[in-house]
């Protein structure tokens, strides 16, 4: 709950507008725009509704909010989170190697296969960039 309240409310409204636009696009047969609007809109609605409800819940329970803040900033919790992210990245990199092959097997357009390869390379590039950056900071 680090974002200001107006951001969450704004994103919720944006989500509703996008979902409505998606429905309108679906009505007019524009499937791609319908999918995008409904997908992004539903995501924004869901996540921001959850954030607003959580905010309301903790406003009535300040002691629980304080404990939650302590638990989330707790060094052991952070260490677990960072290790979990690192392990998940290691596993996902293997999955990302497989995706271009699946796309080729599905006879996908070349640009899609190359985009998948590009994303795989981007993940490694980001790892190198952060390694260098953190090496200078620490």
């Amino acid at each position: 709950m680090n974002r200001p309240l107006w951001v969450e409310r704004g994103l919720l409204i944006l989500g509703v507008l996008l979902a409505a636009a998606g429905l309108l696009a679906a009505w007019n047969g524009a499937e791609v725009w319908a999918g995008l609007g409904l997908g992004i809109g539903a995501g924004l609605i869901g996540s921001n509704t959850a954030m607003l409800l959580t905010r309301r819940y903790y406003r009535k329970r300040p002691e629980q909010e304080r404990q939650k803040r302590i638990d989330s900033g707790d060094e052991r919790s952070m260490a677990i989170r960072y290790q979990a992210k690192a392990k998940a990245f290691d596993r996902m990199i293997i999955v990302m190697i497989v995706v271009p092959f699946l796309l080729i097997a599905a006879q996908s357009p070349l640009w899609l296969v190359l985009a998948a390869v590009g994303l795989y390379l981007l993940a490694y590039l980001l790892q190198i960039v952060y390694t260098m950056k953190l090496g200078k900071q620490m």
């Binding site: 302590i70 638990d71 707790d74 060094e75 052991r76 919790s77 260490a79």
Partner: protein, 67 residues
């Protein structure tokens, strides 16, 4: 890393929750520290030492691994 955390805490009649509250960490962190599953950061080690009014070496036992 071995430590005397549980021993010191029980000597003073302090619960894990109370110690966690005083150090602003979770109760699970205190539990993990006591059974040696987690080693504290230097900052947390200093906070523990200050809380118990002891030195870090009085609380944590560093044993070098044989070469």
């Amino acid at each position: 890393m071995l430590n005397r955390l549980e021993e010191l805490r029980k000597e003073r009649g302090i619960k894990q929750e109370e110690l966690a509250e005083a150090l602003q960490v979770s109760r699970q962190t205190i539990g993990s520290l006591e059974n040696g599953r987690y080693n504290p950061s230097i900052t947390l080690a200093f906070k523990l030492a200050r809380y118990f009014k002891l030195s870090i070496e009085d609380i944590f036992i560093y044993e070098e691994e044989p070469l």
